[in-house]
């Protein structure tokens, strides 16, 4: 059984890596003789990659970006969960708050950058607020949906056995809504990466977005391309970590769905 599973994983990896490998080769070949300074050969870009990023730049630009993303993202998740549970639990609350939420959600977070600058300056706080203002919505809205969809029979079990408020939240509401919450968190993660870069393009002194703009303005074109590749790699890595956590936390859910498919 476990060796079957190993074979399955290898096959999935081969399938997953096939197209990226093909694209890589295509890029390599099509750019190999390129004379254009905006579209340098991939070999050049890769040679530059190590010089640019395996340097003090890691501590100066990459780490600060990731730390801001991390704190902003987790704050957004905490905020979205807290508000989502409160809003999902009460119909009155939804009626009052939903129109406001629709309005706030419709505002593209990048336009908030100038406003946040006015209030909190151009430091890390501004950038994290931009990330929070974008990431909070998918978590919030999915949590509301998850809390509303909680099973009414389980709700009666909770009442019948007189389960207290805290235990109800911890053993029923959060795990019951967790499949939707994770869907929201996954959307929020990709939004967070985009906003991490955008927030560093204005009035910043470090970060991945700042570096990219600097390279582009100083015509360091291969360096600019390495920044884009690095962002892609960071995105893949974060998605991979997310998937890992999700598979662990939602193991019961995927198992339940499998058993329902098999029995129907």
């Amino acid at each position: 059984m476990s060796s079957d599973r190993a074979i399955q994983i290898v096959r999935q990896m081969a399938l997953a890596m096939g197209l990226p490998a093909l694209l890589f080769v295509a890029w390599w070949i099509s750019s190999s003789g390129s004379e254009s300074i905006f579209f340098p050969p991939l070999s050049n870009i890769l040679r530059t990659f190590a010089d640019v990023w395996f340097s003090p730049r890691i501590m100066h630009d990459v780490v600060p970006s990731l730390v801001r993303l991390f704190i902003g993202y987790l704050s957004a998740v905490a905020l979205g969960l807290a508000l989502g549970i409160a809003i999902g639990a009460s119909r009155r609350m939804r009626q009052v708050i939903e129109p406001v939420l629709e309005f706030l959600r419709a505002i593209p977070p990048p336009v908030l950058v100038p406003i946040f600058m006015l209030f909190v300056g151009i430091g890390d706080m501004m950038k994290m607020l931009v990330i929070i203002s974008g990431c909070v919505w998918p978590v919030l809205l999915n949590t509301v949906a998850g809390v509303r969809a909680l099973d009414s029979v389980l709700e009666e079990v909770i009442r019948c056995y007189r389960i207290g408020m805290v235990a109800r939240l911890w053993y029923f509401v959060l795990p019951g809504a967790s499949p939707q919450i994770f869907a929201g968190m996954r959307q929020a993660l990709s939004i967070g990466i985009i906003l991490m870069v955008i927030s560093e393009m204005f009035a910043a002194s470090n970060g991945l977005g700042f570096s990219l703009v600097q390279f582009q303005r100083s015509f360091a074109i291969p360096e600019m391309w390495t920044g884009i590749i690095l962002l892609g790699l960071i995105g893949i890595l974060l998605a991979f970590i997310f998937r890992f956590v999700e598979n662990w936390m939602l193991a019961w859910y995927f198992g339940l769905r499998r058993s329902q498919r098999e029995s129907s």
């Binding site: 389960i163 235990a167 967790s178």
Partner: protein, 273 residues
């Protein structure tokens, strides 16, 4: 000792339902579900409630459980009026697939209601182990509910109720969705638990045979708006077995009588007076 209380159920009332009414308000009109239901269940009794589909059986049970507020009348448990789910009452729901928490193992499901009971970890562990052993599921306590068959899932729900140490156990058509063979086993399990634990049981079903086989007494409900059609004692021997009890002439008589009652109830006949 337990047999004395059973022989004389009126000696101490465990559950009293007094003039219970329930209507649902739906926008402009009011739908009357339960018109007037009064009955008493003595301590240690096993009473089955039977009625045609749509007879308000589940509504009645939820009112008794404190999950629904009645529109009139009241439910009294051990002398205390029921206004919310009482601490000494457990419910086994009909939808076994939805009444267990799918993110918890079997053991965690049984353990959850005990968290509030101010017990030591060792006491809780013993209650959970004993309850799982009582329903013959001691070896699957680490599985998730959805990994088990329907009958086993309902046994987990029964174990959860048993571990809670209720004085009254309410069951809402708990075996309606399992196959016939499993159902017979579960009925025997219920009889066995009732006799060994000495608790009071109220068992709602739409199955006439099940009601006669399980109960000491059967209450027949009319179709909605619900009143009680009949309250009939089941004078079968206390030791019941699927093979022998069901082939007794008396079983057939009771079954026939209740069948006629249910048919009358379906046609809308009400009790005289």
């Amino acid at each position: 000792m337990a047999d004395n209380t059973r022989a004389n159920p009126s000696s101490s009332a465990m559950v009293e339902v007094i003039g219970l009414r329930k209507s649902y308000d739906d926008h402009h009109r009011s739908i009357e579900a339960i018109r007037d239901v009064t009955f008493t269940v003595g301590a240690g009794e096993l009473v089955c409630i039977i009625g045609p589909s749509g007879a308000g059986k589940t509504t009645l049970l939820k009112c008794i459980a404190g999950l629904l507020a009645p529109s009139g009348g009241q439910v009294v448990l051990e002398g205390q009026p029921v206004t919310e789910p009482p601490a000494r009452m457990a419910v086994v729901f009909q939808e076994y697939g939805r009444s267990l928490f799918p993110w918890m193992s079997v053991r965690e499901n049984v353990d959850l209601p005990l968290k509030r009971k101010h017990l030591t970890a060792a006491q809780r562990e013993k209650l959970v182990n004993d309850a799982l052993a009582a329903v013959d599921l001691a070896d699957v306590h680490r599985a998730y509910p959805w990994q088990l068959s329907g009958g086993m899932q309902q046994r987990v729900a029964i174990a959860r109720a048993v571990a809670y140490e209720p004085h009254v156990l309410l069951m809402d058509e708990p075996f309606a969705a399992v196959d016939a063979q499993t159902r017979a086993d579960l009925e025997d399990l219920i009889r066995r638990l009732w006799r060994s634990l000495g608790i009071t049981m109220l068992f709602v079903t739409h199955d006439i045979d099940e009601a006669v086989y399980l109960g000491q007494r059967v209450l027949v409900l009319s179709s909605s708006p619900t009143v009680i059609m009949e309250n009939i004692a089941i004078d079968l021997p206390d030791d019941r077995s699927q093979l022998e009890t069901r082939s007794l002439p008396r079983f057939a008589e009771l079954r026939k009588h209740l069948y006629a009652q249910i048919q009358a109830s379906k046609q809308g006949r009400r009790p005289a007076g």
